[in-house]
Symmetry: C2
Subunit: 491 residues, 2 copies
């Protein structure tokens, strides 16, 4: 397998598109904008799902499943919500096909037209809140802490594997609470859960913050987000959590009897992450040789490649390797022993580099004689010779070291790419030439935000939580500002 | 909670519909034919999924994800396949909504009509084989052993929760092989995997067999199935596995270079089970008091209910219960300690009976004094007093005993309801009055099969594998038959 991968410096965007396909993560399907997630890519997504699901359950959430279809009238009930989604809806209008009368093939049966069109869910607030009305009568029924793993569809015109696809996989949490305070706390909690997952498991550092009004979710009173930085200096929104106020409760008439016996509207949150995280994972760590995967999410953590001529040599190697495979597996490390005789070692080295396997062991005749393995780590591409008796311990350490190292590397890159700026002229230059996050004062108005976006394509990624209040002046209008916000061009 | 559950003898169908809703498994949504799977029901489905997924991986399969939408032209490529699904397809025709010009609300934007309609997948053979064409060049690329967990839509006119819904959840395996023999073996293997899962985990006995030509999957050369028997004497098809021959390879032009360098069409299988299994689980074991769940799939295996007056008594009970909860959890047993003070013990007893929790412990003042727990098992409703020091061991034993007991009970019921019949007159009486499976000779023709179906509503569930060849005469036509087949009315 020749990698023939475009380099990042040559064309970052092309590098990404090629890598996703060549590393067997995903590919485009025959359906415009819809991807096929291939087994290797899906194995990574499964590991993400398993960890997130565990964290959701630890914070008291249960899973459920709601319909794929949303009646058009439901979508229309919350005004700003339908405004946000109407332009990208897949609409089901008929429920039957038939043979064309002129024998020209299969056609839609016009006699099977739906009375009301159904929308393929772009998100499920409306169908879920229509259900919650039946589930909530009293304060005793609250909180409802429910998550759904599902596919959703948003008809995007320009699509890219994982980053923007017409159909994608995600989870959407939808919770219902008796008080504003509890709902706000839930929305904040889930932002923290997302940040912990992305940092600890994906090894991707994120900035927690609040969205400005114009970047809010359609129907939310407040949107919290985590923002990551890719190697090309563009930001990527990795997860969002919304405090929805009583908007959906009012639209769907969901009230409860409080302890005092009063009828009150329920308070809501929703929060989600999607297969977009796969894009963030690829773009944060990978290099010109291919994927670099964090050990915690790598489907194969260690690959062992024998170097041999003839069956006798292979048998001698296998005798040493097979007990090692067992021992590593008993420690919960996933290992592949690749003794295919249809491919040369060099081909295999390339393939596992491309696929981001964190540790590669090679073993040939000299290693056999010396009682060693040649170990190569994917993150640094460094090689070392390790004694057979030390190899398990070394691999256990490396699982941790590689996880930490790629996090630290991404963190260092980001630290170099947060720039404080006080003049709009400087801002315009930096956003083009250096990229990354720019921390600047802003007067708080949507007008200024829009103007900056039009003139520079940069948006306010968030009002970061880790930044102190600070008196200042908007870099554009000179009006007073109470804190810096983070700008970037974004995916 | 008053159960107010219709009894099985009064109206079996009503009993089922009520039970599914009252036990919090699922309910109808505002979208015709689409169900909401509630958290308690979904927790059972998750346990099924986890076990099946493990068994699929142990037999070498990987998960992947393919698009929700299928272009109409793809569906049309395999003639008998489209014939089988065209009448129940949800069709996407537009990709945008807009505000009506007359201000009457949100309407479909006629300018956003798709050039080619998209079908919401009723099953994924076509989109997957369109993809496999790109993945298979050489015998080295085979076999492909892939599974997908997904939602599918079949526009059923009369729906029932879990048993027949417009949208349902399932898994669909799709494999590609170099030889007919290997594909047939795969299809057979998956029938055995399904049988093992349904019998060992759901505690539902099944009969393995082959479908007749008229009951085959649309596009299959052979369909294998497992058939279960419900308490009302009706059969339920619990899973199917199809040998697809080269039909889809030919329709989608999927060829490979054999070892000898020849271009050959690939051989295919597909196999699936769905949330229908939830219906089978409910209808096999449950009784007039509610659900009866097999311990292996019960979200809560043991519930502990304190019986007390005042906080002091509750504290004394909790002191005994909390270490027990810990110990049970350390043994992998899921326990709920329900000390809600908003509900009386009798209400709780009813609720957990309705929800099928296998073991209930109650503990009151007398138990405290005697150092005992009152234990009730859900399957037999028997109660016993167990010494505190024996309770963990007793529960561990019971997990096994209850699992076996409900299997044996279902097996005994089925054994009593397989009747050998040699005359069509007797058949007609028995199928009405006794129900169950009827084992009879049949001449092998679709004409006779159709006639029996029209006249009695019974279908051939399968040609069972566990039945010896036997010379005989068709009960209807008197023509020669080489083995008995199984008839039943079915869900
Ligand atoms: Zn560490
Ligand atoms: Zn047993």
């Amino acid at each position: 397998m020749g990698k023939n991968l475009t380099s990042r410096s040559e064309d970052y965007s092309k590098w990404y598109n090629e890598l996703v396909v060549k590393a067997d993560l995903a590919e485009n399907s025959g359906v415009r904008g819809c991807m096929v997630i291939k087994p290797y890519g899906f194995a990574i997504w499964e590991k993400m799902q398993a960890q997130l699901d565990k964290m959701f359950k630890e914070t008291g959430h249960e899973n459920a499943y709601f319909p794929l279809f949303i009646p058009k009238s439901y979508l229309s009930k919350e005004a700003s919500h339908v405004e946000g989604f109407a332009k990208e809806c897949a609409v089901v209008t008929h429920y039957r096909l038939k043979n064309a009368e002129d024998g020209s093939g299969i056609v839609v049966d016009e006699d099977a037209k739906l009375e009301e069109e159904l929308i393929v869910r772009p998100t499920s607030e409306t169908i879920i809140w229509d259900t919650y009305r039946k589930w909530v009568q009293s304060y005793r029924d609250l909180p409802l802490l429910i998550n759904q793993w599902a596919n959703v569809v948003r008809w995007e015109m320009r699509t890219r594997l994982f980053l923007r696809t017409a159909e994608f996989l995600w989870q959407e949490g939808h919770t219902a609470h008796a008080t504003r305070k509890e709902a706000v706390e839930e929305a904040e909690q889930m932002m923290h859960v997302y940040a912990e997952f992305v940092e600890e498991h994906m090894a991707v550092p994120v900035i927690k913050g609040t969205k400005t009004e114009s970047e809010r979710f359609a129907g939310a009173e407040e949107t919290y987000c985590i923002e990551a930085l890719m190697q090309d200096g563009k930001a990527l929104q990795a997860g969002t959590s919304h405090f929805l106020g009583q908007n959906f409760a009012k639209a769907f008439d969901v009230k409860f009897a409080s302890k005092e016996g009063k009828q009150e509207y329920v308070w809501a949150t929703s929060w989600g992450v999607s297969t977009r995280l796969m894009g963030a994972l690829v773009m944060t760590h990978s290099d010109d040789n291919g994927l670099v995967l964090p050990p915690k999410l790598a489907p194969i953590q260690v690959v062992i490649v024998p170097i041999y001529k003839g069956e006798e040599q292979l048998d001698a190697i296998s005798e040493k390797v097979e007990p090692l495979v067992k021992e590593l597996r008993s420690k919960g490390i996933s290992v592949k022993y690749d003794k295919r005789d249809t491919h040369k070692p060099g081909f295999k080295f390339n393939e596992y580099e491309l696929k981001g396997v964190p540790v590669r062991l090679a073993v040939g005749q000299r290693d056999l004689a010396n009682g060693t393995f040649e170990l190569a780590r994917r993150d640094t591409l460094e090689k070392e010779s390790v004694k057979a008796e030390d190899v398990v311990a070394r691999i256990e350490t490396l699982m941790h070291e590689i996880q930490d190292n790629i996090y630290n590397r991404a963190h260092a890159y980001r630290a170099e790419h947060i720039t404080e700026v006080d003049s709009y002229d400087e801002f315009k230059v930096l956003i083009e030439e250096k990229g990354g996050f720019i921390s600047a004062h802003w007067d708080g108005s949507s007008e200024t935000e829009d103007r900056i976006k039009e003139e520079t394509k940069a948006t306010i990624r968030c009002i970061p939580w880790n930044v102190e209040e600070q008196e200042g002046k908007c870099m554009v209008t000179g009006k007073p500002s109470s804190r810096r916000v983070l700008f970037a061009k974004a995916y």
